[in-house]
């Protein structure tokens, strides 16, 4: 089972890494803003470099008939106080500014890349020394140091711009360093190491492709800052001495001209703004390109988008829901969950039906990516931003949840239905002590005062068998072990005395011995309180240990639903059987676990017919022609398979 997941994960990672490297330039080229900015910069750079030939006049030529004039046919951008052509002076002055930018960028790139790459790839003491050096440099106020250098070396712009490059290097080094670390820790480098590549090859192949994007983004920011800084130096009169032009001292000229005409401010400041804006936007474009998103796709996110859209769907075809007359605490009929992808939506959970009887423990089982977690998140309406839930009915203790507003849902969340999640430590707020968080939950759900809440919180901690509750209460989540944190999370979920506890893979992140303790705890708590349980898991051992009934999910659908005992003894769906065979339940020790060939189809590319057909040994043409219905088998059990008759033969 886990071998299947890991194998697929490594393939997926390598594929993504390859795409990132290969798709970077094409993605950048597809961004109109980035392309436009590159073109603007190219034109300005070329015009300045070839100013001698391009500009209509010399930088010092005076037209005494037209002083301080606005734009005209002979002087496209007008003239200054001495009748010199502004356009020509801008083009010549640009050489000074652009040279300064190049000096700063080169110095910054060399130092930053060197420090970041060596620290990130070599690690150890090199890492420590390099990062300490960065911290030290980050504390230096940039503009002040520039003025110090200029004060000492007297209008030496090259010295100032090189200093600027040095000052900005630690930021670049940090960006490169963290990108390197991220790549280093990604699975595909780990697998490259396993494949026997030397660390130099790893560095060249993977790390450079991962670092290029972030580094280029930062370098374009450095260039923008250098442009502003160079212009600022020129403006303060500390750069090249007049009458030689620079973009900065042209603004000073414009300022002196202000009492007569304000026009000159427009082109002189405008060119600086255009260049820095283009550099900044180009940097954003590069960032979007290596993040692999089209510009503007993440902009719609907000707290408001977390409120799930809920709509009433038509009644389902039936099957899987509670049989008539049988009491159920939670009943879900025809629930579909869709998530936004790009500008459209993709279905993650497809027409799911199930019910939970009071006090019953139901397992939801399946490989990663089958929609298990999304199913329970759909019931609780705690989905990623922009999600959409459609259901014929989701009823909890007789109340129809689909007709409730986000706010009305809170009457049921916590007090009616408790929730614990997969990662115990990250499910607790890192900024508050666990005692505070537990007391907060008690006060919220029971409406008691501070002292009483403290007492109840201590009782809850005792019930989840936490040793030394007073000491634990003072700790922050990151100071606890996974098992302890999960006990706190369970205690918090119990604070509202729920009738149904939903646990999303509560033991997956824990050690095996701790897993057993948590499962025992959950079973005992159920016996004490009589609450029902939904347990999401991919571990059949957990299912057999803790649950009464199991739903097997595959590619967003429920494919089998039956009693735990009968499903383990007689799985009806080929997928269930394959899952059971690849887990250790019912297998003799030291026997090799078979794996299921192939991977779960990704949401959005589900086949029209049976979604398991491509991996199924029993698949025949009829399986692929159309949607497969749930087929009721025995009392209370059903499977989404048209070949359950053959199964009996194959099984033995």
């Amino acid at each position: 089972m886990s071998a299947v997941i890991e194998g697929a994960a490594i393939q997926e990672q390598s594929r993504r890494a390859a795409e990132r490297g290969a798709g970077f330039l094409p993605r950048l080229v597809r961004q109109p803003i980035a392309v436009a900015c590159s073109l603007v910069l190219l034109v300005i750079v070329l015009a300045c470099v070839f100013a001698e030939w391009v500009s209509p006049y010399g930088p010092l030529d005076q037209d005494l008939q037209n002083t301080a004039a606005g734009p005209s046919a002979s002087h496209l951008l007008g003239t200054d106080q001495l009748g010199r052509d502004i356009l020509s002076r801008m083009l010549h002055g640009g050489q000074v500014t652009l040279l300064g930018i190049v000096q700063a960028v080169v110095v910054c790139a060399v130092i930053g890349l060197f420090l970041g790459l060596t620290a990130g790839t070599l690690g150890g003491w090199v890492e420590t020394v390099a990062m300490r050096l960065c911290d030290l440099l980050l504390a230096v106020p940039g503009l002040v140091m520039l003025l110090v250098i200029l004060g000492i070396y007297g209008n030496n712009e090259a010295a100032a711009m090189i200093t600027l490059g040095v000052i900005m290097a630690p930021t670049l080094a940090r960006v490169v360093y963290s990108a390197t670390i991220a790549v280093r820790e990604e699975l595909y480098v780990a697998s490259a190491r396993v494949a026997g590549l030397t660390s130099f090859q790893i560095m060249r192949r993977h790390i450079l492709s991962g670092v290029t994007g972030p580094a280029l983004t930062q370098i374009s920011i450095v260039a923008a800052v250098a442009c502003i800084a160079e212009a600022g130096i020129g403006y303060l009169g500390l750069g090249v001495a007049p009458p030689a032009p620079s973009w900065g001292n042209l603004v000073t000229d414009a300022q002196n001209l202000m009492p007569i005409s304000a026009w000159m401010l427009v082109p002189t400041g405008g060119i600086i703004a255009v260049v820095t804006l283009s550099l900044t936007l180009l940097g954003n474009g590069i960032r979007d390109a290596y993040m692999g998103r089209s510009s503007g796709s993440s902009k719609a996110f907000s707290w408001r988008a977390l409120a799930v859209k809920v709509s009433q769907a038509a009644s389902p075809a039936g099957g899987g829901a509670a049989p008539l007359g049988q009491e159920s605490i939670l009943s879900v009929k025809g629930m579909t969950v869709r998530l936004p992808r790009g500008s459209s939506e993709v279905t993650i959970v497809d027409d799911v039906n199930f019910h939970v009887a009071p006090g019953e423990a139901v397992a939801i089982v399946g490989e990663s990516g089958c929609g298990k977690s999304m199913t329970i998140s759909g019931v609780l309406r705690v989905l990623p931003m922009g999600a959409h839930v459609a259901a014929a009915s989701i009823s909890f203790k007789g109340a129809e949840l689909t007709s409730l507003s986000e706010r009305e849902m809170n009457a049921y969340r916590g007090t009616g239905i408790g929730f614990i999640s997969q990662e115990p430590i990250s499910s607790l707020n890192p900024a508050f002590t666990v005692g505070h968080q537990l007391e907060e939950a008690v006060r919220l759900h029971r409406g008691v005062g501070k002292g009483k809440a403290r007492q109840i919180a201590r009782e809850l901690m005792a019930r989840v068998r936490l040793p030394e509750p007073d000491a634990v209460a003072k700790k922050y989540p990151h100071e606890l072990s996974g098992g302890m944190a999960q006990r706190i999370a369970i205690a918090r979920a119990l604070a509202g005395e729920p009738d149904l506890l939903i646990a999303d893979e509560p033991t997956t992140a824990l050690d095996v011995s701790v897993q057993c303790e948590i499962l025992d705890l959950l079973r005992d708590l159920r016996e004490q309180t009589g609450m029902a349980l939904i347990l999401v898991t991919h571990d059949w051992g957990v299912v057999a240990e803790a649950c009464d009934r199991a739903l097997v999910m595959y590619a967003g659908q429920v494919v089998e639903s039956a009693d735990v005992r009968s499903i383990i003894a007689h799985p009806a769906h080929p997928y269930t059987r394959a899952l059971l065979q690849s887990s250790s339940v019912g297998i003799a020790p030291r026997q090799l676990l078979p794996v299921i060939a192939g991977t779960v189809p990704v949401p959005g590319s589900w086949p029209h017919g049976c979604r398991f057909a491509s991996r199924c040994v029993l698949a025949e043409d009829a399986c692929r022609t159309g949607p497969i219905p749930m087929v009721t088998l025995d009392e209370g059990s059903a499977a989404r398979c048209i070949r359950t008759d053959v199964d009996e033969l194959v099984r033995t």
């Binding site: 002040v144 110090v148 000492i152 414009a254 401010l265 707290w303 988008a305 977390l306 707020n429 890192p430």
Partner: protein, 313 residues
């Protein structure tokens, strides 16, 4: 908490030493002596040498540095080469101007930046996009150019506000405020959107986190989640951003003081730079560094209070 402060100070004190040493070394490498700077390029070699001897500038650089450092510890930053006035006194008299500017701009940035960032994170829609566009514009437009345009529009054309000068608070509180409005707004405006973008991003990342999902699944009211749980987690990174913004604002005061004719540390720095007044440059470099170090120290203390993990580090 105390250990964080002590650890920071262990870094901070040598940092100030290193900065002053670098500045001292650079100025000695630059050539030209103090005596030359005072007497001008036309002075005879003998008179320059005599003055250097009198001022102690003929001693080895290291000796001079140690001597300077010994005095600097007691608050004596030497005498200005140009005016002969004690550097420490000149700096002290100009602190209120620069601080009024920088702190005023900082308040503006925090109030508007955090508010609009939070609105963008909660309500979404156009606010978030606008903040991102403004952040790009704020970074891209040169502040001295914006200042000139502000002077032109609000000072000259509309004549609403004074275009130059500084009125001390003690002389006239209303005059003080009026003289600060334009420079403070121009100084702060380019950084507001930056803080807004960070606030929005940090809040959104907290909103997507596992613990917020758990809180929502357990029925916490949205205001409690956003203004307590999300806010405390977003506050740390926002605070770090604000401290970086403050450092950049302090640098920005140099240009603003120059444009609006305010007698602050920035104008002192620029005039010392043009006159090669090394004693003043040296004193200012150390003072600015000290200011940055103090800001980072305060940020660290506040971050430690907000984030238990940072405290443990």
């Amino acid at each position: 908490m105390l250990s964080v402060v002590i650890r920071r100070l262990i870094v901070a004190v040598p940092l100030m030493g290193v900065i002053s040493f670098i500045v001292f070394m650079l100025s000695s490498l630059a050539g030209g002596s103090v005596g030359q700077a005072i007497l001008g390029p036309t002075a005879s070699a003998e008179s320059v040498a005599a003055l250097n001897a009198k001022l102690g500038a003929d001693r080895p650089v290291l000796v001079q540095y140690v001597d300077w450092l010994r005095h600097a510890i007691t608050g004596d930053l030497g005498l200005s080469v140009v005016s002969g006035v004690p550097v420490a006194d000149t700096i002290a008299s100009r602190i209120p101007v620069t601080m009024s500017l920088a702190v005023g701009a900082l308040l503006l940035v925090i109030i508007l930046g955090v508010t609009s960032g939070a609105i963008a994170a909660i309500r979404g829609g156009i606010t978030g996009r606008l903040a991102e566009v403004l952040a790009v514009l704020g970074r891209g437009l040169p502040s001295f150019w914006l200042a000139l345009i502000a002077v032109l529009v609000f000072g000259v054309n509309l004549a609403w506000l004074p275009v130059s000068g500084y009125v001390p608070f003690a002389d006239s509180p209303s005059g003080w405020i009026q003289s600060l409005i334009l420079p403070v707004v121009v100084l702060g405006v380019s950084e507001i959107a930056l803080v807004a973008v960070v606030t929005r991003a940090e809040m959104l990342s907290a909103m997507r986190s596992d613990y917020v999902r758990s809180l929502r699944a357990n029925g916490y009211p949205w205001k409690r989640i956003v203004f307590k749980h999300v806010a405390k987690n977003a506050a740390g990174p926002v605070l770090t951003m604000v401290s970086l913004v403050f450092v950049s604002l302090i640098g920005g005061t140099i240009l603003m003081e120059q444009i609006f004719g305010m007698p602050g540390l920035g104008t002192l720095m620029v005039s010392a730079t043009t006159k090669h007044d090394l004693q003043v440059i040296q004193g200012l470099a150390v003072f600015y560094t000290a200011m940055v170090v103090v800001v980072f120290l305060l940020t660290d203390i506040a971050s430690g209070y907000l984030n238990a993990k940072a405290r443990a580090r």
